[in-house]
Symmetry: C2
Subunit: 444 residues, 2 copies
């Protein structure tokens, strides 16, 4: 079950060098959402590929074509595929990560230069854009590979890698790549994959530890569906001075309509929606009861006593399993004295929910590895948002997918002063290696 | 009652030259809301002052100080004051106008260059920024002055002028100028003013003819009051994936609150507000009944059958006398999956209502002048919006104020392809001159 002691010791002894490598990665401003940084995303992809190669991984850059962003046609950053180990007796694990980052500049309010990794020796924080999302987790895998190469240890599993450079900008081209690569079977790079491990700290779902104390494994995502409602009225924008109380105003109707969708206590007023999700089993309730989480944690996280329930289990189920309806993006009637032709809210898009079998050996292995490294059982969580690639892997490969967060709930991905704690990086690297051994043991 | 025939003939005979002068004014892009054009606003002020001087008007440029716009400190364009005629036996009329304009560029969708006056000989339209708002009306007064100078006629009244260059940007500095100048009494430029005539086509109140057929006099403005409502919740922006259905969302509460303010049929739901405005007298109702206006006119103007009433008089009272509540500027929860710290709508500001005595000789004179020039009785209207300077003149000078629109309801001030019809410009110039004679006759 446990990894070799020499592996754990190697990680500890090389911690400073590993942090330096994270610094090299952070120094490349691979911002996928800013066309002027597109060459940096390519540079980061090549840097990552070189690292993998130097650690014995066979790699391939996959051209994903072009796309249009801000009226400019740009080449998409490549997917970096990799494989190491072809032992048919070993289990094969596919690992996903993304090497692009969110925009950042000091003028946004960063205390330090975002693309220079700062090691705060007092707090142990490694501060920089991409430290937790998602360069730190990717470096975790490099650390594991390097340790085994340096020690002359063979990996306990076969590994496959899939890294993309467009995650922060909609993962363009990735779904097609995964499904076509999966469809290739024995000829594809995902041949023989037995399970998937995603070590991403995706801000969209805030897929981190629930807090700063207890590691977690995530086995479900609520999914998202956007609806857009448009109320039309006059054929052009009108002046409320000239037409107010003469004609029907779209914004008045839209606001009334929206007020009928969700109650202030979170109840969804659209008939039948709340009924579509059956109540939890006692086994599921027991999972929520066991979480290292309190009502006060939520109050602390949001900075105000505005929780919808005083009961911890009810509260966490609001996030993890019940449907939630939020009102967003109301447009129209922008100018003070003008009411517009149309009033509208929301955007139309859909991401399906995903739930994994948390009793699968993939989860059992991650649980045992967590207990070995952190001396603590992980929280078993679901998240309120969506990580589309999770579902794509699960559906196209037909295998169990594990979300194994490396960071803490206060890392601030997508925010200023993004950080990864040194202990999360170093112990997290140990966790990844130990997880490989636990998978090997569980599937022997 | 009527003006000298030679005056009317002079206007007709010099029409093309007057249109050329309007073209010179339009060619100066005196956009007050764009700091890069501030020198053009000054240039326009000096051009106007030179014109007045050449027509025998004594003038003064009043420095209104500085202001800050878009983080830049800029000198305010001067007010141009003028006076001509000091005959104590004559009535003194104060005229207001503004020489600044709204921004315009061909890329906004103009069919022609906005700062080159285009004369469409087929439709008779004079197309260009400022043609109707407010350079055309100002040129109307210059035409009257020029005719009298050229013909050697003395004006039937004493005239005072107050032109500003910041109307499109909040009239900064003007209220103080008017009140301080009024307070100077005999030593001020407004000494002896008996009435005010404002020939502005202010988009904010759409103070034009009600349609394209019948001239109007405007004797009331409904006024405006803005309220801003802010609903606060969490201490920072939250992710709806992570906190949806865990905490109270400001936008949910705000929408519910807003839905209680006004009904889709225009009824104001806040107790007592609709009751604050007493119903119309039969005399007032008769004014609305007499207006050259139909339900179909409203449908045509807004481009859709969305009127709140099928009864013409009820419909027009919604605009002209009843309170109206519009919902605007809803902010918060902008990003698809994010709900913000605060949700808020509206802006806080106030402009008081204004109603003039339409039986005053000032209005009687304008009515008779309109009948003489247009062979038609003018509509007697109130408007739904606000023209702040109207109230400032009325209160600081204590005299009757007349709004005498020159343009038609379809002129498109503040829009692309702003125009003034040639006939409105030329007949409008005759109307202004005839109005002066009518005032003189009425106050003899
Ligand atoms: Zn990420
Ligand atoms: Zn991210
Ligand atoms: Zn104007
Ligand atoms: Zn205007």
């Amino acid at each position: 079950m446990s990894s070799p002691l020499e592996f754990l010791r190697f990680i500890d002894e090389n911690a400073d060098r590993f942090i330096q490598r994270l610094g090299q990665a952070v120094a490349i401003p691979s911002i996928s959402g800013d066309g002027t940084h597109r060459q940096d995303v390519f540079k980061m992809g090549s840097w990552l590929e070189d690292q993998l190669k130097s650690l014995g991984v066979e790699t391939k850059q996959v051209d994903l074509g072009k796309h249009t962003m801000d009226d400019q046609e740009l080449p998409l950053p490549p997917a970096i595929l990799g494989r190491i180990g072809h032992d048919p007796k070993k289990t094969t694990i596919l690992v996903y990560g993304h090497y692009d980052v969110q925009p950042a500049s000091k003028s946004d309010g960063w205390d330090t230069e975002p693309f220079e990794l700062v090691v705060d020796s007092e707090t142990g924080r490694l501060i920089g854009r991409g430290s937790t999302d998602d360069k730190g987790p990717i470096m975790g895998w490099l650390n594991v590979l390097e340790a085994h190469k340096a020690l002359g240890l063979s990996l306990p599993v076969n590994m496959r890698f899939c890294f993309e450079g467009m995650e922060e900008s909609g993962s363009e081209g990735l779904d097609d790549l995964i499904t076509s690569e999966a469809a290739k079977g024995k000829k594809g790079w995902f041949d023989g994959v037995d399970c998937v491990c995603i070590v991403v700290n995706l801000s969209q779902s805030d897929n981190y530890w629930l807090n700063t104390r207890t590691p977690c494994l995530t086995y479900g995502l609520r999914g998202i569906k956007y609806f857009k409602v448009t109320v039309s009225g006059p054929a052009r924008d009108l002046h409320s001075g000239a037409f107010g109380r003469m004609v029907h105003e779209p914004m008045t109707d839209l606001v009334l309509l929206m007020s009928k969708l969700v109650a202030p206590d979170g109840t969804i007023l659209i008939p039948g929606v709340d009924d579509m999700v059956p109540g939890p089993s006692s086994e599921e309730t027991a999972i929520y009861d066991a979480l290292d989480y309190s009502v006060q944690d939520v109050v602390d996280a949001v900075g105000a006593p505005i929780t919808l329930s005083e009961d911890k289990t009810t509260l966490i189920m609001g996030r993890m399993r019940f449907p939630s309806l939020s009102l967003h993006g109301i447009e129209g009637g922008v100018r003070e004295t003008q009411h517009e032709e149309q009033a509208r809210f929301g955007e139309s898009a859909r991401r399906k929910p995903w739930i994994a079998d948390y009793k699968h050996w993939n989860y059992e292995a991650a649980k045992k590895a967590t207990e070995a490294v952190y001396k603590k059982s992980p929280d078993l969580t679901r998240e309120g948002g969506s990580i589309p690639v999770t579902l794509t892997f699960a559906e196209s490969l037909g295998v169990n997918v594990l979300l194994l967060p490396m960071g803490r709930g206060d890392d601030g991905a997508h925010s200023t002063n993004e950080k990864l704690d040194r202990s999360n990086f170093i112990e997290g690297s140990k966790l990844l290696g130990t997880y490989l051994y636990a998978v090997a043991a569980a599937t022997e």
